[in-house]
């Protein structure tokens, strides 16, 4: 279905426009208002788009009107199918929550600018129907945070980190895109960059491209052995954009959107390797998170572990496994946002996220404690949360074909659960080591409650989510 006007482009451009507006706003209050309004508008618009997509039987696609692109032909640049619409909505929720629900910083303008820019890039990536735009947005995802994070003055120097992540993600991708276009230009002509088309045609030079893509995916998903940047970034980078990055799972998206299409039907070596990387990450992240001494770093390790689980599901190529992975994708994204917001709230109140320095926070912040506990159990898939549905599907998908893998995944989730409950006990319970000045404020409470409502509401009535995800799953099994 085509929209009569460039609705999707407008949605995608809104956050970027917002970022520009915020940058030039007069004060922090003004900046917050703009950020909240823009993020909210994007959220509503994407909900509308998702309804539109779902309304088309079998999960069709909505597209912007076609554009004349000169030599590249006439085709729409932006569109959503069920998968990208679901993911876009999840990301919009995450972005809205982080923009509105985060504690106030000294100056809000750089923070909100970064967040809106990151959201814009993520949406661009998701909505893009063009390989180059997708690749550009993908590569630049870390740039806003790296460019002017609010941590510039306060935090340690993370320049190298961002540079490394950018290069490790962008270079192989650029090479892959170059190779694709070079190898296929002859056979495809100007359509080589049209994502709707390239999946249907045979490719040449697939193995090298696949290798490069896999490298990119490994880096972005923070799979072993290219994982170390993620814990470092959650600990030292600005938390908001990092959470958006984690929740977007851009690596996985690149995998299903670009890499999958290069081996229609046949998993090839790629899934095997990725599965191995996934298992290793899941276990390694699980084990190491057992002894983490910093809450933010713990979130990083948890994300490494969970990304591992998700990629195993995607690579299982079983209907329940893939659906489980997508459910997990959305549920973990939402839950980890809640988790990060609570950790952030702890940091804003106590000035630290070092577990050893914290203790007994429940005395001063009971609601914050409940929020952390709720998101902790949600992010490791306890019954009642959407994560449980995802985990159940995932494991069914994997255990059927690879029983050993399934057991290892169970071990990894067990480890993650232990790590989070341990953190909950150490930080929020126990003798009071540090007192917070106040519990969650109304603004934070509403955001946190909204996220919890999404995670637990869909966890209790999963059919809605699972049906939509069922459609999204079909987009992967092209």
């Amino acid at each position: 279905m085509n929209y009569p006007f460039s609705l999707i482009f407008i949605i995608v451009a809104l956050p970027l426009l917002g970022a520009a507006l915020v940058k030039r706003s007069s004060g922090p209050d003004h900046a917050r208002q703009i950020g909240g309004v823009i993020a909210g508008a994007v959220l509503l618009a994407l909900a509308y788009v998702l309804l539109d997509v779902v309304a088309q039987d079998g999960g069709g696609r909505v597209e912007d009107p076609a554009l004349a692109l000169g030599w590249f032909g006439v085709r729409p640049l932006f569109g959503f199918d069920a998968l990208s619409a679901v993911l876009a909505l999840t990301n919009a929720i995450t972005a809205f929550a982080v923009i509105v629900g985060a504690p106030r910083s000294r100056d809000e303008r750089p923070r909100i600018t970064t967040l809106l820019a990151t959201e814009g890039l993520i949406l661009t990536m998701l909505a893009s129907l063009d390989l180059v735009i997708l690749a550009l947005a993908f590569a630049c995802l870390v740039s806003p945070a790296g460019a002017h994070g609010p941590s510039r003055r306060e935090g340690p120097d993370t320049t190298r980190l961002y540079r490394a992540v950018f290069i490790a993600g962008a270079l192989p991708l650029a090479a892959a895109v170059g190779l694709i276009s070079f190898a296929n230009l002859g056979s495809l002509g100007p359509d080589v960059f049209d994502l709707r088309v390239i999946s249907m045609l045979p490719h040449r030079g697939a193995s090298v491209v696949l290798g490069l893509l896999m490298l990119t995916v490994l880096v972005r998903m923070a799979l072993l052995p290219l994982h170390s940047w993620l814990p470092a970034m959650t600990q030292h980078g600005p938390l908001g954009p990092t959470v958006l990055l984690v929740a977007s799972q851009s690596g996985a998206y690149l995998f299903v959107r670009v890499a999958f299409v290069f081996f229609p039907g046949d998993a090839g070596g790629l899934t095997t390797w990725l599965t191995l990387g996934g298992v290793a990450s899941a276990l390694y992240g699980g084990v190491i998170s057992l002894i983490q001494d910093d809450l933010r770093r713990l979130i990083g390790w948890l994300s490494v572990s969970q990304a591992g689980l998700m990629i195993i599901g995607l690579c299982s190529l079983e209907s329940d496994g893939v659906a489980g992975a997508v459910v997990y994708w959305t549920s973990y994204g939402t839950a980890v946002t809640g988790l990060a917001l609570t950790v952030w709230a702890v940091q804003a109140r106590t000035g630290t996220t070092t577990i050893a320095q914290l203790g007994g926070l429940v005395e001063s912040c009971p609601r914050l404690t409940v929020a952390f506990a709720a998101f902790a159990v949600a992010s490791v898939g306890f019954p009642g949360s959407l994560g449980f549905v995802g985990e159940d599907l995932l494991i069914h998908g994997v255990l059927d074909s690879h029983p050993l893998l399934g057991v290892l995944m169970l071990v990894a989730t067990a480890l993650n659960g232990i790590a989070l409950i341990r953190a909950l006990f150490r930080v929020f319970l126990g003798p009071v080591k540090i007192a917070a000045p106040a519990d969650l404020r109304a603004r934070e409470l509403w955001v946190v409650a909204g996220l919890a409502a999404v995670v637990f509401g869909l966890g209790l009535w999963p059919r809605l989510a699972v049906d939509v995800v069922g459609l999204a799953r079909l987009c992967i099994h092209v």
Binding site: S26, D107, T350, G351, I434
Partner: protein, 1059 residues
Amino acid sequence: MQSTSSRSLDTSFESVHLQTHAVRVSDPGPAPSIAPAQPPADARDRLHHALEHAAHLLPDQAPLEMFVHHNTLHALAHLPFHHALRIAHGVYDAQVYRSEQEFRSDLACGRIDPEELDRELDRYLHQRGLDPTQDMGGLCTRRALYAVALRVDLAPPTRAALRWRVREEQFDRRLAARADTNRMIEAGRDYLRELVTRATTAELTQRFLGPNGVPSRMGERYAIPLEIGALLRQLETDPEPLVAGSMWQTCRVLARECEVHASAEAPARTWTHRDELLNRTGRDIWEQTLPELLGWAAAYLEEGLAYWPMPGREAGFFGAVRELLLARGHVRPWIRRAVERLEQLREATATDAILTALAALGVAPEQYDQYLLELLAVTPGFAGMFSRLERHPHERATLAPPTSLTEFCAVRLVFEWAAVELAATEHGLGAIDTLVRTAATRRDAPHPDTHAAYRLFILAQVLGLAPAQLDTLTPSAANELLDALDTFDELDRCRVFLEAYELRYRTQILDGMRSNRPAKPGLRAARPSAQFVTCIDDREESFRRHIEEVDPSVETFGAAGSFGLAIAYRGLDAAGHIPLAPAGVRPRHEIFEHPLTQDAAIGERRRSRRRRWGAFLHQLFFGSRSAVRGALTSLAIGPLAWLPLGVRIMAPRASVRALAWVGARVLPKPRTRLTNDEACGPSPRGLASGYGFAEQVDRVHALLEGIGLRESVAPLVFLLAHGSTSVNNPHAAAYDCGACGGRRGGATGRLLVSFANDPAVRVAIAARGIQIPSDTWFVAGEHDTTADRIELFDLDLLPASHAGQLERARAVMEEARTRNGHERSRKFEHAALTSSAQVGLRHVEARASHFGETRPEYNHCTNAMCVVSRRSLTRGLFLDRRAFLVSYDPDSDRTGAVLDRLLAIAAPVGAGINLEYYFSRVDPERFGCGTKLPHNVCGYIGVLNGTSGDLRTGLSTQMTEIHEPMRLLVIVEATPQALLAAAAREPIVAELITKGWIRLVSVDPDTGEMQLFEAGAFVACDTHEPAPLATATTSGAYYAGRREPLPPARVLAALGGQS
């Protein structure tokens, strides 16, 4: 400011010098010497000294069944009250006052009077020799500053908290809403308007953005650029952010020019190996050693709870543990190390083991005191229990081996040694004998913003200062201000609060008594219809009041519940003898309860049936816990066990009645008597088996003389002892009669009555001047303070002539107990306030029988005073169950001998109860045993939290939660001279009075003049006009619908209509 709060405390009590006229107990001025006077020479002596020293500071609580209230800080009782509290705060790291927050909310709700608080503040300043009018930086006087410090929380926040408040709450851009905030803002606006027009950019930056401020950040803080025009516009539209911001930044600038130091110094403490290891490796060796140690300690001390008792206990704790550890191989590395060490110490005594371990650990003899205390204070419960049982071996079960703190310490040290050695090897820390030292806890340097600027800014807001005034403050003046605040630390503030808190209560009580005191207090009516003598217990206050309200022709008296006897008593159904005597008194007489000869058959049947029942219970108890018998029990009894459980919990009162009904059928109860062999033959246990005639006369005479019952003895005189009934309550002993050593009284009164009803005894007493009419009959009874039941003994002996009078008295008691139950139920939130008296009674009865009830009654909770007087002073006065009432007639006590006797019992017992409640309430975790809910009985001697850790001592929060922690207000109807003379003869009483552990008020028996003992002398405290006393027809009408503690009121019914 004295800051002596080290752990070196003198173990020897200072001898108390009581100067009859002006005892100047200097308030903690120069600290009394608390260092050991003569350091012992040799290591063994030093060790001995160190252990004694430690034993002194450890909790002194007996096993659960012998629970007796005592002053938790008995070790510091020789120091002035507030001073002792300050030391205890350092030594035990405990709360010693209620929190400031609680005091402030009391101030807000009127429980503390603001004027009285200021008066107490003045008194404090006077005592400390500080000038109240001293000017503080031109902003206020010292008195005003301290008054603010009392009312406003000025505790420095953490930096993160301050940052958070700045960002989220606009702490620096809003002024706290007060009456004069608008005036401040306007003054500030005018001042700033003028200033802004003349200022340079640099000045503006400093004024609005503070030190290190940069102009570019103006937007993010005030959303305007740093331009004069914009500033002026902002001042017109919304000046508050700019005014507040400029004041905050001024404070920050000032703060950077002040010397900031942390407001409270952390006390120095001994740095042990464990601290060093914890610091270096993050691992706590005590987490390994303590569970092991405490497990063995529990096994050694337990008195028959375990199915297999610990073998080899005869060898002493150290020897037994050594043999057991050596008997098997071990897995845990540190225990393997410990076993190696124990192998070396195979032949050593406990003392040798300690000395060896101390030498290996590198603890020098002069460090023994602190080091051992540091170690033992970590497990105060078990260490204290070893020490207590060592000093009071008779509290140990008959078959149990002896205990000693030395043995405990030996095991403790060998474990410590092994664990330290192993940890040091594992982490490559080298020699372990250089790790002990004394160190103050390091604190981060205080930050100027949080410690100085924050407080200055809050002060400026509270004092209503404008920016102009703040600008005139010089750094040195600010320094002075902050120093003055630091000097008045939290302990001092709480001290002033406590004094004001007590003063409010004291004023109410004394005003009430002044209004209530009859013109001729010695005048007694004609012969009363009956007389009741109850225990002095505060729980009997309401009971006595209700008896008098029901029948104004009755008289009541209060005497310590042992009625002057001290017996080893064995009841009909008891397992053995129990001492019924005040704490510290060893009984010398042994008394049995035995069936009457004509009921011997019933008695025998009861005995044999109970024996079989007991054997069954025994089998059930251990059997259900074992494997095979346990399976059989589960299969045979188990499937129905939910039924009795459900019934007992859903219908506690009915099920207890049903059980009693069945019990009475199955186990018939014979009529019984107490033995009393007048020949005083020795019993099998070597005690006298009865009181001789002369002793009987003495005891009866002493009782009657003590309560002032010299004439008009009524036809019926009841001696009501008391006890308490509760189920599922490990601390049950604490609810029984304190004067009977934490047991049910009953038997003492019953025995005394049998003396008093003996005509021969009466003749002998008449010779001593007390006439007991021949138609007088004494009846003994026991008041159950939980269910409010009264059981009377030996009624079969009552002369038929008294039957009618007994019926009448019984009706009075029945009505009184109903009303008493109702009055008690008002304190329980589960009881409806509107219910009738009968419902109230049923409520308290259900409490006594409910498994799930953690508060069978509130016990001594809310106790606050002790009145030693004729009843005329308190009769008809509603004292809200808060008073120990001791009957005393000053007119008949010319020599003061009776006063001596009464004070010697009432003051320490009352103060012990009161202070234990005080400390358990102010720090339930350190001084009390915390909440009851996870408690678990260990070895029948104490309770643990859950299944691990140390024995908990003190009172639970369920016992103390509604207590108002105050020192006992002792009001004695005697002249100051008589009181001082009596105190001079009783050193313990003197110490309590002069050191301020109780507050003493003398009421002149003739004039009614009231004087308070304060700072070493009696001062008049009745100079003001008393507030009018509330009046009500009955107690019930007065307290109706209210749960909170109530001020005294006059209850007309008890006065027989005379108003």
